[in-house]
Symmetry: C2
Subunit: 187 residues, 2 copies
Amino acid sequence: MAAVEVSLRNGYDAVTTEAIAAEAGISTRTFFNYYPNKQAAILGERIMLLPDDPIWFTASHRPVIDDVVDLLDQALRDDEPDRRMLNKIMAMIDSHPALHDLFRTKMDDVASALTGLLVARLGADFATESRLLGDLATLALTDAVSRWAVDDNMTIDDITALLRRSLLGVGRLLQPAVGDMVATDGR
Amino acid sequence: MAAVEVSLRNGYDAVTTEAIAAEAGISTRTFFNYYPNKQAAILGERIMLLPDDPIWFTASHRPVIDDVVDLLDQALRDDEPDRRMLNKIMAMIDSHPALHDLFRTKMDDVASALTGLLVARLGADFATESRLLGDLATLALTDAVSRWAVDDNMTIDDITALLRRSLLGVGRLLQPAVGDMVATDGR
């Protein structure tokens, strides 16, 4: 919080870890107990954490898309994103390449966690599909959360609905012609 | 080519633009006519270019997935990737974060071009799905090309087949009512 406020006031390039620590009312030493550098302080320690091993997810026989959406919905609610803060962070990410790369690295962590859960559920034969779906769902979530951040009329429920709609839309675009299914399915 | 060779011999961190230019038999000044820095020289000016405005793609009524695969297949053949070179570049990307970020930026260019073509075809109402599919197909292509790079038994045809199979696999996972498909499709 302090890091974002100071960055917006002084400009990202001029921000020092000392200024962030002062704003937060902590010593620089304490700052480094929490964050390795100012970028990490601005983005926060984490974007979002997925549960380590949700048994329901790996054991479920429902359609994969339903469970992926439910899992991300749950992670989102646990995360309790702050709309105003997210807005400021997004603006800063947009204008600073170093933050952009760090943000991507953090979203990669979410995608990796999701991929791990998908592999646990589908098996190693589906490693490629799991990774692609892990990345895709993370991108769709990022898109939905970004819209929520700039639209006061959207609720957390709307994020989930938008995520689901986007994934179903991509699924439709990936459908082969009717009757083509058998021919393409033969691995 | 020279940039990759020199980087492997001297180590990426020790490489200078002078050394790359010398290996290529050109002046440093000529080097900077081609590349802004050593990273760009190692990755090449471009990873792959999509055609600017392939009329057949935007006008087609075939399933989108078929045309996306055909488009990427064509771009790949036009690009004529060099397996040995790609192998070396991949190894260098793996070990150098700066190259990794630049590689992602370059793949983003491919994804953006594909997204643009998809929006031209599907309309602005499908902007989100187009962007997600553009990213997904680019990731699937990167995965397939990476496998080809380390497998002498694979041909360019196999890259396309793998790309298609991966996308269809993700499409199946995104189906709302086919949760049992995974168990029944014989893998």
